[in-house]
Symmetry: C2
Subunit: 465 residues, 2 copies
């Protein structure tokens, strides 16, 4: 082995073991030469070798950097449903059974670990509201939700350039109830609803429960919703509503850019398709730049935007909302006659928390932590999983999406479960069980030895599955 | 005026003014004679006169007692829907607008005042759970609900002779979500659902939201559900489900007795009609004798029983449940894909409360208070309202049902609202706007001068409406 090959193999091992991490700078040419006792030319040759292998990348005047380990998933995903059909998902009961378990490493749950959330500030707010307004905490909240909280939600929209009135906000049990209420209010059985592929299985199941038909528009890892295809589908079919996740699609983490969002809105307005926007991950931009919700460009009152505190403050409080526009009264009736209203104390406590704390600051910390976790997980996957593994490079949210051609995600799911690890098999995210060689993992768990070990074990299981 | 007539008119005035209250003993014959300076014979004649007028009642060896002031509403209510039809209620939006107001005397709300509930014990339980298990309070509860609470619910059923497993209980946002989930899971648009007439407007609206057709079976003030008519209707129509309130019908407060309950179950089993039992008032038997839910006699797995803590502990916690039997898995799926799950802390806190306190003791106190309030309200109505007013004599629950032939409950509703008093107009309780001369008032507010004044004012408004 030549000297430069020996040095290259040492560096390769350091990258594989994670002592040199993706995005980190390699030691300088001078340092490498010095520490390994080789010439400058040999050190340069070693770095060039790593660059040819795709492991390192030169940046002008900065030296060599370790490249992200996994190549991004190519945009060619399986074919999508082009004619309306019904949702089927044979794995649904398995997943629901998993959700009842509390003994798993919850890589299936796209929710941040409590350690990343302001637990003590939130419990302090809950306690304070109990002390200061025990009656309001125990009595019915107004069906629409406490006005104090609705005002704070409207203010937050204003901060990101979106005009929303507190009067058109309805507090819900998370974004899931917001989506379900919207569909229940605006559709009839047999109506066609457009969804993304892949998309969150909760959306698919909410659609299935109402006996609606689905059409799928691709969501592409590198640019989000395929707006040209959307226009084509709306032209070909009468589509009552589109349930879309333009900001950090679950599971891909992709973003639909502002221009595409506006084109999308024009298409939907032209074809009288109501947009139900699931913006639950909108605040989780790893770059710190929150992308605007569709509502920002809505000129025709054609959008219902759904949001939640589940992914940024506390899922167990079950507080989300919808921005209902002209449909607010109708949506409120549906809400009243299915749950009367949401629990009072969680609403009061969130309003108290938001008045006392800097949400933006918490979001910055949370996003940094998620991006860091995702990076470490990708590196571990690159180390431990078969080399044919592919991974998306999400821009935000809580999910990593992996593909391992030939793998059976159902087998992996079952075997991982037996070893105490929860996963979300790819088939969940398709209306007809596609993505059987894909897998969603949560990046909401802080990095730990146990997590590294679990990822290694998953890699072994995936190899056999 | 003869002497006995003079004495009778004095006693009549005392009854009208409320200084002698229904159920109270009149002074003894000897006392009356002595204090009014008349003979024993004259005092006897005066009491006989009051008895002839229906104002007093002799009890052997105990003397004379003031009779309940209002005669019970006769069982002949308006005709009911005998062919399946759709629900219409033009007053719905008015009522929803009223619910958003917090400045009213809430005679419209069939909920006990917080002063009748164990507020400090409940806030102590909430605080304790926050201190001892902050993570469980902020994190998702299992979709089905915390097992600790489900076990306690099953134990309470066991106390009243009903065998229920914690595994078939799903925690819901009150009984309303339990009913809505049941209908959403078990019916298809266009199915026929049987309801009582009158019945709770929430049931009617949940049915309407799902585009179901309704058939109505009479609920009679003196004996509850008309089981013969029910059998007839089930024979004539294919009825998918029956949403019934056998224990303390809202608004009548009537009870269907055990024998009728068993006959009802046989009819429904014979015709394959699923029973959705709204037992939300079951624990509020003013006599202290809790009537059993239908589930007790269910031999065919044909009943889903819905209950709640809203009417007995705290409505604002939004914790109710359903007992799903063989449908539990399907119901849980509907729950998961419409709200994911119920808020965690309220469930933990209710389990804590129930483990530390004697629920039965609280219920005894609450029921005594409600019965006493209802009695005083009936007396006030007898004093202040037109003499043609009729009232049911409920056996439990939280409602008084009044009828004033010729009155327009919509006019009364509007005028009362202008004066800060909430009422529930009769039309709400019918699928096609019947009972326009009826009114439901809550008996959940503790007696007060303000309440007496409001009832007097309502009487004046009702007289003109």
């Amino acid at each position: 082995m030549l000297l430069y090959q020996h040095l290259a193999s040492q560096l390769r091992a350091q990258i594989a073991q994670g002592s040199l991490r993706a995005g980190e700078r390699l030691p300088s040419i001078r340092q490498l030469a010095h520490s390994h006792g080789v010439s400058i030319a040999t050190a340069v040759q070693a770095c060039l070798q790593l660059e040819r292998e795709g492991l390192a990348q030169a940046r002008p005047r900065s030296g060599y950097f370790v490249r992200a380990a996994s190549p991004p998933l190519p945009a060619t995903l399986p074919s999508r449903r082009r004619t309306p059909g019904t949702v089927s998902n044979p794995m649904l009961q398995d997943v629901l059974d998993m959700l009842a378990r509390s003994d798993l490493l919850p890589l299936h749950s796209a929710t941040p670990s409590l350690t990343l959330l302001p637990q003590s500030a939130l419990t302090a707010s809950l306690s304070r509201c109990l002390r200061r307004m025990p009656s309001a905490a125990l009595d019915y909240a107004p069906p629409q939700g406490h006005l104090s909280l609705r005002r704070l939600i409207a203010q937050r929209y204003a901060q990101v350039g979106v005009t929303v009135s507190a009067d058109e906000i309805i507090i819900t049990a998370g974004a899931m109830e917001a989506i379900s209420l919207s569909l229940r209010t605006l559709t009839q059985p047999g109506d066609v609803v457009l969804v993304e592929s892949p998309t969150y299985h909760g959306i698919l199941q909410a659609v299935a429960a109402l006996k609606l038909k689905v059409l799928e528009v691709p969501n592409l890892p590198d640019r989000g919703i395929d707006v040209e295809r959307l226009e084509l589908l709306l032209r070909q079919h009468q589509v009552r509503a589109a349930v879309l996740v333009p900001n950090f699609n679950n599971p891909l983490g992709s973003v639909t850019d502002d221009e595409a969002k506006q084109a999308l809105l024009k298409s939907c307005a032209r074809h009288k398709t109501i947009v139900i926007e699931d913006d639950i991950y909108g605040e989780l931009a790893w770059s710190g730049q929150r992308p605007a919700p569709l509502r920002r460009w809505d000129r025709h009152g054609g959008v219902i935007t759904c949001g939640s505190y589940s992914k940024i403050l506390a899922a167990g409080l079950r507080v989300g909302w919808l921005v209902g526009g002209d449909w607010t009264d109708a949506l409120l009736r549906t809400k009243y006659f299915s749950t009367v209203g949401s629990a009072s104390l969680p609403q009061l406590a969130l309003a108290d928390y938001l008045e006392r704390h800097d949400l933006q600051r918490h979001l910055r910390q949370l996003c940094r932590a998620l991006a860091d976790n995702a990076q470490r997980m990708h590196e571990a996957i690159a180390r431990h999983w078969p080399s044919s593994t592919r991974a998306c490079t999400p821009q935000g949210g809580l999910s990593l999406w992996l593909q391992l051609p030939g793998m059976n995600a159902k087998t992996l799911f079952d075997e991982a479960l037996r070893e105490g690890i929860g996963t979300s098999p790819g088939m969940l995210f398709s209306s007809r069980g596609e993505y059987a060689d894909c897998l969603r993992l949560s990046c909401g768990l802080p990095w730990s030895v146990a997590l590294d070990r679990a990822l290694r074990r998953l890699g072994q299981l995936a190899d056999r599955a």
